[in-house]
């Protein structure tokens, strides 16, 4: 060993940070979420903005943030309640924020709250704002079910009808077929394929077995249960549901056994598929919120930031055959932007849409052939080490309120970095439409 070398290397590594000259440091001050509940349970009678409101109030409570100290509020959601299509506005008003704070709602399927956060980052970077509240909400206990197009057409014509005769003839034109309701599409619009079906094909394409998927699902539930029991899920606020009990815990965590999991029949591709109800994420109600600030502002207001939000990318690919490969495409790209390698990452939080989807993404990341054929890279970046991966459970076990998951991932990375003591974390998620997101998060020096 040569004299002096180890020391200088250590120094170099220690001093590495992703701060860029001339670019503002943006920090995550706090992140909270309502308990994530299986849809149709305790939240069943609420409306989406009620959940978002609860998350916002939780954030206010936890940070003691003055209600007029926020410059802008952004929310992400997927299935929109038509009465509150700008759910960000309704929720922030209801949560008692000053009515002088503008707010808007964004949507990008399962990475909607990621977009809410990065929109905030953009506003701060552009010098427009210093303090942003971003969040996401999804409420699957009630979804907009519409009259059929034919019925809607008749009803709208009825509105315009001037004479009784016209009205009667329109009413007379209504047939049984008009009364068939239209459900929100569960399938991808461009391909008409449901996500579970695509996930099953993806798993097959990467040769992911049923056993691997069940094992991963069991791991997710087991780790989530451990984290819940150990009190690690400190982003969860308790929420007194009007007319119901106070909820303080996620209710979808159900560690089972491999034997139990093996009993389930495939849910999408029958009879030989591998994706089952137990190795897929379930329909969830929930909301999340984060407080994002410029570092100077946070320090000026006396906050102790939890983490830096660093480089991020959005990616998109073929919505038919690569619907859920966002993490595989996003990860190498964001690492390259940040100048990091897989080994530099201490904490991974990937969105678990399906166990098969996660395994497929991991295999894609670990394949030179895939990197060369589909990403134009010379070599693979490699798969994340499992001992750093989703250690407090994931969407499979904690639940996945589509619009809210992104903030949960980012907050979890920050909390895990604090708890586990690493420097860099990586968030990655897939989304309908064949899109994806990845973000590097750096621990805030404590």
């Amino acid at each position: 060993m040569k004299w002096g070398q180890p020391l200088s290397l250590t120094l170099l590594v220690f001093s590495t940070t992703l701060a860029k000259p001339g670019v503002k440091n943006i920090v995550l001050v706090e992140g909270v979420r309502t308990p994530f509940l299986l849809s149709g349970t305790t939240y069943a009678d609420l409306m989406p903005h009620d959940l978002a409101r609860a998350a916002l109030q939780g954030l206010l409570h936890k940070t003691s943030l003055p209600k007029d100290a926020v410059d802008y509020i952004i929310y992400g959601t997927v299935i929109q309640e038509v009465k509150t299509s700008n759910v960000a506005r309704e929720a922030s008003l209801g949560a008692g924020f000053s009515d002088k704070i503008p707010s808007h709602t964004v949507t990008m399927a399962c990475i909607s709250s990621n977009v809410a956060m990065t929109t905030g980052v953009g506003l701060i970077t552009a010098g427009q704002c210093d303090t942003i509240v971003a969040g996401g909400v999804e409420f699957m206990s009630d979804v907009p079910i519409r009259h059929s197009r034919k019925m809607r057409k008749t009803m709208l014509a009825l509105n315009r009808a001037k004479t009784l005769g016209q009205r009667l003839s329109l009413i007379g034109s209504i047939r049984m077929a008009h009364l068939t309701p239209e459900l929100p599409a569960v399938a991808e619009f461009s391909t008409a394929e449901t996500m579970g079906h695509s996930a099953d094909r993806l798993a097959a394409a990467f040769g992911v077995t049923r056993l691997e998927q069940d094992e991963f699902a069991l791991r997710s539930h087991t780790l989530a249960k451990q984290a819940q029991d150990a009190g690690l899920l400190s982003d969860v606020i308790s929420f007194k549901v009007p007319g119901r009990d106070t909820v303080a815990k996620d209710n979808g965590i159900r560690p089972s056994s491999m034997e139990q999991l093996a009993k389930l029949k495939p849910a999408f591709i029958k009879p030989h598929g591998t994706v089952t109800a137990a190795n897929s994420s379930f329909l969830t109600d929930g909301a999340s919120a984060v407080l994002i600030m410029s570092e100077e502002k946070a320090l000026a207001m006396g906050y102790k930031p939890k983490a830096y939000l660093r480089d991020f990318v959005f990616v998109s690919q073929d919505p038919k055959d690569q619907l859920l490969l966002g993490p595989a495409y996003g990860t190498p790209k964001v690492l390259a932007r940040a100048g990091l390698t897989m080994d530099d990452i201490d904490v991974f939080e990937f969105h678990e849409a399906f166990a098969g989807q996660i395994m497929a993404n991991l295999k894609a990341l670990d394949s030179d052939w895939f990197a060369q054929t589909y990403m134009g890279r010379k070599v693979k970046v490699g798969a994340p080490a499992m001992e750093k991966f989703n250690l407090w459970g994931g969407s499979l076990s904690l639940g996945h309120p589509f619009g809210a998951t992104g903030c949960r991932l980012v907050t979890t990375v920050a909390h895990r970095l604090l708890k586990e003591g690493g420097q860099y974390g990586l968030v990655a998620a897939c989304a309908a439409g064949g899109q994806g997101h990845a973000m590097v998060i750096e621990a805030y020096p404590q």
């Binding site: 619009f189 461009s190 391909t191 008409a192 079906h197 099953d200 094909r201 993806l202 097959a204 394409a205 990467f206 040769g207 591709i269 009879p271 030989h272 073929d318 038919k320 055959d321 690569q322 490969l325 497929a360 295999k363 894609a364 394949s367 052939w369 895939f370 054929t373 589909y374």
Partner: protein, 745 residues
């Protein structure tokens, strides 16, 4: 010991020498995976070699005690088995030989059907003809939902029948009506439909990118699923005899009634006779074979199938249809090589029926298409035609609404020449007037880049006359499409002596992309197709003038095998177009093109009887109504031009041969003059562009089969009455003189 090693080496060498090249198998625990892959072809066919190796492998699989079941799969992406080897049938000289072939196939599949070890056919890609018969002899079928996966019995289209048990197994598998539908139409059935019909048991989704190429991994996945099925059958987790549903029971009961079956045979027979006019023997033999099996038991059924197969293989109809099949394959190749630059941007001038039709078959082939017209109304009509064409495909579930939208994003409609500087090819489909065409070519050449090809879609104007206005005649070519463009398969490409080879290669490449069957012909008035049609239509007009009414004329022509009667055809083409062509070609070729009085057509045009497009022609067309009545005004009109028929050449048969012989003589003359490259293209052009009877295989095959001498003899008889309209050309006379001369070997 040493000897043992030597022996081993020897046997190794021997086995290497005798190694199987088409069929191999691998034992995966208890399942034998039998893989087919013809090393010499893109597709697998049931050739002698394939069959022999298959029997060998099958025997080994049966003898191997470790194997409990088998999976039959192709290693070729996009093809399971495309059918039997046609050459094998064509190599036979007697029907007995063919019957023997059929019986060998029947025997082989009988062994498969009775195999004590279940065999699962894993189907990805085309599973047609003998391939389908093989698959349905297996105990279980799994198919991919790939767009390339099609199942069917296309034998009828070659004038044959499914001769390896198909006529016997299909009715049991998919029901009598379903089986007739499959075998009599020969249509391709997609995987999901096949599942609904009961033709396959299970479907597998095609896979996208993974750790291998999607095609490779999809085949592997199919194999994995098929292996699971094979084990499932062995372990009785999958039952081969399904519990029958109520509907099935009722259906079985109904089909069990002899009277009902008789009615079905009668009904189907009637339909076939009506559609084929009795000119095609294969459908009737299919019905006969099915009936024999169902009514007299399997022994009679299989025997009938084999014997009928032998008989059909020796018919001229089958010979003609097989000739067309080979011709079609030949006309789907580009004999001019790969063009220097592929056409990525194509501009079409004129958004009429033709222009929009060309756009319709181009825009969904990954070519950016500009559709230009001079008026908003014309353009909108054309754009709507393209939209409707795609939308109709959604209704047939061929594409999704998303695919329609993304396809349409490649179509630009415009009224000016903007963007023409990026065009690689311009096809003009403006009005058939030499002056307009000259104006257009000058306008276009002012805006297009130097490499851009100018193609003109005309049905009669000589290309060299159009090219006379061009600054670069080597880039000018004729592309004669047929209406409706999205339905008619033929594209006639016309080259002048100045057209460069690369221009031709490029035009053929575009046509092939558009899915066309292509003939490339020399320049001249009417090129090939229009030139053949014109004398026949002139004769048709004469026949009308001689007092045969349009309905009767249609019946005579369809009775000869034309899919569309002569009078209806004239209405479809347009009486104005017909008049135009008759006049132009009459001028070019002189009295030989005479016959009926052109004034008949001209008068019709004057009175507004322009054919279907104007609602009246020889017939009256009522929108929404399929049946049509003869135009009542036509009688008066014809009365004015009445000719007295000569009874010696006016029998029904003579009228038919008068029409056909003029067509055929002109076709032969096109070959004689070098307009045609060869008889194959002549036959393909006549059948696919003009509806020459497919059962006759085209004018050249017709001369070979009918006998040039007999045809000349008839023509001489007509010549005596009508003069040079019927003078046989020299090449036809040469063939008449020497019976060894054949257009097709």
């Amino acid at each position: 010991s040493l000897t043992k090693i030597k022996m081993a080496r020897y046997s190794f060498d021997l086995s290497f020498f005798l190694a199987r090249t088409h069929v191999n198998y691998e034992v995966k625990e208890d399942v034998a995976v039998i893989r087919m892959n013809d090393p010499n072809s893109k597709v697998n066919t049931l050739s002698v070699r394939m069959q022999n190796e298959m029997i060998e492998v099958f025997n080994e699989v049966l003898a191997n005690d470790a194997v409990h079941s088998a999976v039959l799969i192709s290693s070729k992406p996009g093809c399971f088995i495309a059918g039997a080897d046609i050459n094998m049938i064509q190599a036979c000289n007697t029907s007995e030989e063919v019957t023997k072939l059929s019986q060998e196939g029947q025997k082989m599949f009988e062994r498969i059907e009775k195999s004590p070890k279940p065999i699962v056919a894993a189907i990805n890609g085309s599973c047609l003809g003998g391939g389908l018969e093989f698959a349905i002899a297996c105990q279980y079928r799994v198919a991919t939902k790939s767009k390339k996966t099609v199942l069917g019995t296309p034998e009828v289209m070659l004038g044959l029948l499914p001769g390896a048990g198909g006529t016997q197994r299909l009715p049991k598998m998919v029901g009598i009506p379903g089986a007739f539908d499959m075998m009599l139409t020969g249509r391709n059935i997609k995987a999901d439909k096949a599942k609904k019909m009961g033709l396959v048991h299970q479907l597998v989704d095609p896979l996208g990118p993974g750790l291998k190429s999607p095609e490779e991994r999809t085949i592997e996945y199919l194999e994995e699923v098929a292996i699971q099925c094979a084990r499932g059958i062995v372990h009785k987790k999958i039952l081969l005899t399904k519990k029958k549903g109520m509907m099935q029971k009722v259906q079985d009961y109904v089909m069990g009634i002899a009277f009902v079956r008789q009615q079905i045979y009668k009904n189907v027979n009637g339909k076939v006779m009506k559609m084929s006019k009795g000119l095609y023997p294969a459908p009737l033999k299919i019905i006969e074979s099915v009936k024999a099996g169902l009514e007299q038991g399997p022994d009679s059924g299989y025997l009938a199938e084999a014997q009928n197969f032998g008989k059909l293989a020796m018919t001229s109809e089958s010979n003609a249809l097989i000739g067309l099949y080979h011709g079609q394959v030949a006309c789907k190749k580009n004999r001019f090589g790969v063009p220097e630059r592929p056409v990525k941007n194509l501009a079409i001038l004129g958004a009429g029926l033709m222009g929009a039709g060309i756009a319709q078959v181009t825009v969904d082939k990954g070519i950016h298409t500009v559709l230009k017209d001079t008026t908003v109304e014309g353009l909108s009509r054309g754009q709507q035609q393209v939209y409707k064409g795609l939308n109709d495909k959604i209704k047939k579930k061929a594409i999704t609404s998303f695919e329609r939208d993304s396809t349409l994003s490649s179509l630009t409609g415009q009224l000016d020449y903007s963007g023409f500087e990026k065009a690689d090819m311009v096809i003009e489909a403006v009005f058939e007037d030499i002056n307009i065409k000259h104006r257009v070519i000058k306008e276009v050449e002012a805006v297009i880049p130097p490499h851009c090809i100018f193609a003109t879609n005309t049905s009669a104007l000589p290309i060299k006359d159009i090219a006379a206005a061009s600054m670069r005649p080597e880039k000018v070519i004729g592309m004669h499409y047929f209406s409706p463009v999205d339905k008619m398969q033929l594209l006639e490409i016309i080259t002048t002596d100045k057209t460069s080879k690369d221009t031709t290669a490029s035009a053929v490449a575009v046509g092939l992309k558009q899915g066309k069957v292509i003939i490339v012909v020399g320049d001249g008035p009417g090129f090939y197709t229009t030139r053949c049609l014109a004398p026949m239509l002139a004769e048709a007009v004469r026949v009308l003038q001689e007092g045969v009414n349009p309905k009767k004329l249609d019946a005579l022509t369809t009775g000869f095998g034309f899919p569309v009667g002569a009078a209806t055809l004239a209405d479809e083409v347009g009486i104005d177009v017909a008049a135009h062509v008759a006049e132009d070609l009459g001028k070019a070729f002189g009295s030989r093109f005479g016959g009926g009085n052109v004034d008949v057509l001209k008068t019709m045009v004057e009175r507004g009887f322009k054919g279907r497009k104007s609602g009246k022609g020889c017939y009256v067309y009522t929108p929404g109504l399929k049946s049509k009545d003869v135009n009542p005004d036509i009688d008066d009109l014809l009365e004015k031009f009445k000719l007295t028929p000569n009874p010696s050449v006016s029998s029904d048969s003579d009228v038919q041969y008068r029409l056909v012989s003029r067509f055929v003589n002109e076709a032969v003359m096109c070959l004689q003059e070098g307009i045609l490259n060869g008889p194959v293209e002549g036959d393909i052009g006549a059948v696919f562009g003009l509806g020459f009877p497919p059962c006759l295989g085209g004018p050249f095959r017709f001369v070979d089969t009918f006998g040039a001498d007999k045809l000349v003899e008839k023509m001489r008889r007509y010549e005596e009455v009508y003069g040079n309209h019927f003078t046989p050309c020299q090449l036809l006379l040469d063939h008449a003189k020497d019976s060894n001369k054949r257009f097709h070997k």
